[in-house]
């Protein structure tokens, strides 16, 4: 039986489909027994899938000065 540390390491590899057959087997056996690592797997997937939307929720704005500066740089081209 692999440890939780190893199992969580393999979870990310699994998300990228990079597990060897033995790792796949080790992870499956661990997850069948360990509800904590099953939670980790769900949460890890959730974080990975939603991270790419972060900027849509930031609503950061360039300062008026920064915008003027960029306009000036483009004008000088």
């Amino acid at each position: 039986m692999i440890s939780c540390k190893k199992a969580t390491y393999l979870v990310s590899k699994k998300e990228e489909k990079k597990l060897s057959w033995i790792e796949r087997w080790q992870l499956r056996a661990h997850l069948a027994m360990c509800s904590l690592c099953r939670k980790f797997e769900m949460q890890s997937g959730f974080i990975g899938r939603n991270a790419k939307h972060l900027h849509e929720h930031l609503h950061a704005t360039l300062s008026p000065e920064a915008k003027e500066k960029i306009k000036a740089v483009l004008k000088n081209q």
Partner: protein
């Protein structure tokens, strides 16, 4: 169908803030993010004759911006890649048997993990948690989960081995998960 045309005089007002948010979500430094947005517009301006109108003006600009961000990581990699102590990297989460410690073991988030998250508060906290990662972890995390690059591309850009890569991803995920749980889930 109308052909896509560039309108450079409107770029900054139309896309400046969106490109800036996009960059700032990936590079937590307002000064560097401003510079990269400026470089994006500058490169776009210089390349305007090569724009064929196949992509929309907006997605064309975002593609240029994305390349600027990856370039930035590539150039910076030399400074931010540190020799890694693999043994200690994730030990805080696990006990001597490598099982979850009581403080850091995952608890139930009582939500649909398959859902798309739309809660603004969640992203605010995610952003704060991401800022706490080491720069190299942030770079790897952004390239993987925000830019959708594959492991081989990221290793090549940052000059790291694939085992370094997996250790960095592993640690970034553990830290983000714990940070989200402590700051967001428990607030609900």
């Amino acid at each position: 169908m109308p052909e896509n045309k560039l309108k450079p005089d409107q770029w900054i007002n139309a896309y400046g803030d969106a490109l800036y948010s996009y960059t700032l979500a990936r590079i937590n430094d307002t000064g560097i993010a401003e510079d990269l947005v400026q470089e994006t517009f500058l490169s776009a301006w210089k390349a305007r004759d090569s724009y064929k109108g196949e992509a929309s003006e907006k997605s064309w600009l975002f593609t240029i911006c994305k390349n600027k961000i990856i370039d930035h990581y590539r150039k910076k990699a030399r400074d931010i890649v540190q020799p890694m102590a693999e043994t200690s990297a994730t030990d805080q989460f696990f006990d001597s048997e490598e099982h979850w410690t009581v403080e850091d073991k995952p608890t139930d988030w009582a939500m649909d993990y398959a859902s798309k998250m739309d809660n603004k508060e969640f992203y605010k906290i995610l952003n704060g948690c991401k800022k706490k990662l080491q720069e190299i972890q942030q770079a790897v995390f952004s390239m993987k989960y925000m830019e959708d690059l594959d492991a081989a591309e990221i290793c090549k850009a940052l000059g790291i081995t694939s085992s370094n890569y997996w250790v960095l991803i592993h640690r970034a995920k553990l830290q983000l998960r714990t940070c989200l749980e402590k700051n967001w889930i428990n607030l609900k």
